[in-house]
Subunit: 336 residues, 2 copies
């Protein structure tokens, strides 16, 4: 068996992760026990949530142990197997790690996938993966959209946000997106079909609040929140009565102490709510979500963008794009 | 007609209200137009929400115009009437102002009340008024309690909080209250029947988080939030999966720039929600709420405490007790 390159977490990041928090090492490929199988990882999903797994406290997942490879969703091919149902050559998807080869076992979360069912196998990490399911269930189940609603999406050029904006349009809503920079904003309206785009760069809370009011002249009925900070606070100032905020992420806070949401009083004024959402609550319904997303994609109603960077040796740089906002669409790392 | 003493808002408070933001003046009693009636105010309710009405932005109510008397719920007796259904001598309750006499009209929010139905007429400003209805509908409709749930109440010695704790016990929940100082904490457990009381004074966020964890060893299923700041943030760190936070008030932020809620990420981890509540949404069901509250009070299951200060000339001092936390129970000002 070939050697296994592994991208290890060597030190818990203090704020923004730095290169030396990680180390790319080469280790022997592990031996298999009965019931286990070895996956040759081809693609890994790079997600903001991984930042939280690097902290000592953990969040909805236990922290990544120091010295372990960085946990990530990957897709790959079974290279060797001592587990029933996972034959050599089978494509699989699951929560593995940034490494050439991952050990898994039957009865875990690793599932067989069929590349012939999708345009690109990487779609299993975007539209048919956690990202797509987060957009689907988060938007439909947590935000409860009604036709004619105005939907504000923050982090709108991101993997989840760009899908949510398109789902809003599919469901007859007005979609307003917030993103960083003129290129991303142009993409929101031109590529993803948002009705309006707001560039948050160079805007303070007051200017953002005003920009949202202009883009959403009838107020905001729901927010799909990925960012937090002044972007959330500006959104809260534009809520309609009974508005729903689906809280999917707070990327502005992952590498710094949170500024804090200062306009919660608007929830009282508007009898509005903020509800946290996590895609793992919907695992049993992923089939339903994937079928619908696939239908819309096939009908040309859903544009999916993936940025595939190459090489495990570039894992750090690619991961950090998520926080710099320099990725274009779903961030994926090609490992092999 | 006698003269009318009126407690006017002369300047919008900058942070904590100071005495000179107000002025007690004496004006002639107004003449009545057709359809109007004049109320001799006997008691006024002093509530934290009044602070928001003094700001230029307003909240769920328009701001009090400068030079107008401070808006307040009052109960009083019709002194003179040119309106059908409001005869001289009738007791009424409504949103009036801190003044001896208020002008009102039929078809507004002023309603006849019957003092013979309640132990004390002031109960219309506490258990049967906005305070009681906020506790009743906020707890039952917004927090959706289930038997065995652990309920965390902040501002627990306050007018609303003390009722919510008792409602929690009536509904088979474990009630944990947070209040300021050992006397108030003793009152929570001894008088209102809370299972545990936490004194927030001298505790930072970490100590508060720990104290809540100790008082709620099975975690917190719902928070009835009146305070905000580090008290809310400490509560968020103790939520159970699917917990509900009913946001009733944020008194820690009314006189200062908000610190901001910094632990919103816990809503994602726990798939929890924060929902703003305002009692005016339930006006049509006040009869139902008052009947239930009356039943429980008559059965000795609800202890109601009122602090009645005397004299319109003391309006400022009495109002400021709400923020100093030196009131004992529902703060009421006796005007006549």
């Amino acid at each position: 068996m070939p050697d296994n390159r592994r991208f290890l977490l060597q030190r818990r990041p203090d704020g923004e992760p730095v290169r030396d928090d990680f180390e790319l090492v080469t280790e022997p490929t592990p031996d298999l026990a009965e019931g286990q199988f070895l996956i040759r990882n081809h693609y890994a999903s790079l997600d903001p949530a991984m930042r939280g797994w690097m902290d000592a406290e953990g969040n909805y997942m236990p922290p990544i142990p120091l010295g372990d490879p960085v946990r990530a969703s990957t897709i790959g091919v079974v290279e060797e197997s001592r587990a029933e149902g996972f034959e050599k050559g089978q494509w699989v998807m699951g929560l593995h790690a940034l490494e050439d080869y991952s050990l898994s076992q039957a009865g875990g979360f690793t599932q067989p996938i069929d590349p012939s069912l999708v345009p690109e196998v990487t779609n299993y990490l975007s539209i048919f993966g956690a990202v797509g399911m987060t957009a689907y269930f988060g938007f439909l189940e947590v935000c409860e959209p009604k036709e004619g609603d105005t939907v504000l999406v923050t982090g709108a050029a991101g993997a989840v946000g760009s899908l949510v904006g398109q789902l809003a349009k599919i469901h007859g809503c007005r979609a307003v997106g917030i993103a960083g920079g003129p290129e991303k904003c142009a993409k929101l309206t031109d590529k993803y079909g948002f009705d309006a785009a707001i560039d948050y760069k160079g805007k303070d809370e007051e200017a953002l609040t005003k920009a949202i009011a202009e883009a959403a002249p009838n107020g905001v009925d729901m927010i799909f929140e990925n960012v937090g900070g002044i972007i959330l606070d500006a959104g809260l100032m534009n809520l309609n009565l009974g508005a729903r905020v689906g809280l999917c992420g707070l990327i502005s806070e992952y590498n710094t102490d949170p500024r804090g949401a200062r306009n919660l009083w608007q929830l009282i004024v508007k009898r509005a709510s903020i509800r946290g959402l996590l895609v793992s609550d919907y695992v049993e319904r992923f089939g339903e979500g994937a079928a619908k997303m696939g239908e819309w994609a096939a009908a040309g109603k859903l544009v999916v963008e993936e940025q595939v960077d190459e090489g495990l040796e570039n894992a750090y740089d690619s991961f950090m794009r998520l926080f710099a906002g320099t990725n274009q669409g779903k961030m994926i790392l090609k490992i092999a």
